[in-house]
Symmetry: C5
Subunit: 155 residues, 5 copies
Amino acid sequence: MSYKIGVADSMFARVAMFRIVKKALEDSMESGIKLERYTVPGVKDLPVACKKLLDNGCDICIALGMPGDKPIDKTCAHEASQGLIQTQLITNKHIIEVFVHLDEGENEKDLLQIVKKRTYDHTMNAIALLKGKNSLSKLAGKGVRQGMESVGGIE
Amino acid sequence: MSYKIGVADSMFARVAMFRIVKKALEDSMESGIKLERYTVPGVKDLPVACKKLLDNGCDICIALGMPGDKPIDKTCAHEASQGLIQTQLITNKHIIEVFVHLDEGENEKDLLQIVKKRTYDHTMNAIALLKGKNSLSKLAGKGVRQGMESVGGIE
Amino acid sequence: MSYKIGVADSMFARVAMFRIVKKALEDSMESGIKLERYTVPGVKDLPVACKKLLDNGCDICIALGMPGDKPIDKTCAHEASQGLIQTQLITNKHIIEVFVHLDEGENEKDLLQIVKKRTYDHTMNAIALLKGKNSLSKLAGKGVRQGMESVGGIE
Amino acid sequence: MSYKIGVADSMFARVAMFRIVKKALEDSMESGIKLERYTVPGVKDLPVACKKLLDNGCDICIALGMPGDKPIDKTCAHEASQGLIQTQLITNKHIIEVFVHLDEGENEKDLLQIVKKRTYDHTMNAIALLKGKNSLSKLAGKGVRQGMESVGGIE
Amino acid sequence: MSYKIGVADSMFARVAMFRIVKKALEDSMESGIKLERYTVPGVKDLPVACKKLLDNGCDICIALGMPGDKPIDKTCAHEASQGLIQTQLITNKHIIEVFVHLDEGENEKDLLQIVKKRTYDHTMNAIALLKGKNSLSKLAGKGVRQGMESVGGIE
């Protein structure tokens, strides 16, 4: 089967996140999946970019962003997230939000590692979701954290 | 009569909540009810998963999630809840939100008990709502708490 | 003329609020008004319940709830209120929100009084709104508080 | 030309704000403009009232409210404002929100002055907006404050 | 090709932001682009103004605002931003939000510089977005900040 993943990224982000998506897709060995990219200034511009990608035939979107560390940036990220959820409800398609806040890492190296891992892992999640609603079921309730050590399940 | 309950769960959660729904349904002895499951990465992916389940013929949904204990996790849960309410208004069907925050329990054992009880009780609520708008009326105003000791009514 | 008021109430509430609505309606001596009730688990389930009541022929709704006193409960009430406003905009009908927060009273007796007065007064407001957009105009700007002593107008 | 301005006001407010709108309209000497009034209990009831006024032929609305000074009142005002913006997007018409918070004035006299000036000035803004999208352009960027001393532009 | 950029500005702002947009457009040497202006009282009036501009044939909008420095102003800006995102999802077109908060600068001169640079840079972004979804891709992940020194990418 053939799929198209929309990828929306921003100038505000400090890491070339799109490249990580591309790397993950290559590693997945899924030959039938193409990427369509849309670059915007900041996270608040991501919802309509994803809307256009999904309207334009993408089966799922990945929204890449790195919100800043000031209170106003937290508010922006919140507004963007609300818009991304609304977009999903309008289009009936998933948008995997990959946001890494600039204060999540202790230093730039640490931050880069979080971005790499979260973007990579969530690209794999997007690919899994393309295959149906139970692709991720075997991992449900396992405390999976993208970009962090997973915390495990409690039984 | 025959009904279908959609159940959306997540990889982020630390407990296999879907199993508890299944157990509650079995205990209810309702033979005409089937479950349809949809697993997503985290709580913010639940609204569109429920939307798809409800569009796909489910009569009601149960949205299972365990938001983290950091401020960003509280914001995520808030966004997810807003999306779940919007989904209900679009589809005209109930979504019973079963969220247990990771800081609700004093330890893992305590947390597990809350998850078990809240998920179980809310599955029973979902089954009751399938039977009509007055199924739960005898319990109205009684201070019922799912996952906690009920606090009782004031007269 | 004949009207139908939808009344949505919850199991989470600690007072039998529906009974107060019924009492107020009886006291109003309005013989042409009927009540239709819908009981849900908690306040976040009220928006879709009201949506269904209004779609089902109710002319106005009263949404009864008693949010808890923890921060998460305040968030739930906020989400419910947002959903109730959205429901009104979709249906073009009023929903009178009667929320009494569990920390509004100094003790249970005090709380019960607030619930009784606010529910009673707002039922009267709902009845007035059924009669047209200027029924309440004589009281505009008078600092009217339902469930509390009114604070009066400033001239 | 002939226009209709919808005016939604509330019982919760402490000042007869509708009268100020009327006074401003008279002072404007605009003979072709009529007012249509809708009175509701509190600010959260204003969005659907404005929706009905605008659906009923009003060209623009003025939403009058005086939110209280407690945290819950701030939340109510926020929800009302969100609803008023949604209403504008649905109807494609302006709603000029005239909210004066009860803690804006240092005393009742001060508060009354703010209410009078803000309501009066915003009524003039509403009249101006009826005349087209550039009626207010000469005042853009001038730091205009309704109900307060304007702060002026920076060049 | 020929494009129309809608520009919504406000009386509340303290800088003549529209002039900066005009200057940036002239500097861009793009001869096929016209501006259409809409002036409103404050930031909360911007969403419907942009909605009308976009419905009226504008290909993209720039929303100019300068929210105040009090908590209520932060809330207003948040509501305006949510409305601007909703407007984009309804119209399927971008709205570049150019908000400068009155407390962003250390003094009026500093504030003016931020306003000038952010408005100018974002006008260039709007022009770029008119040319397609990959016009800004070469700058993705570079830590670009409009109105501030860019912080650079991390590799």
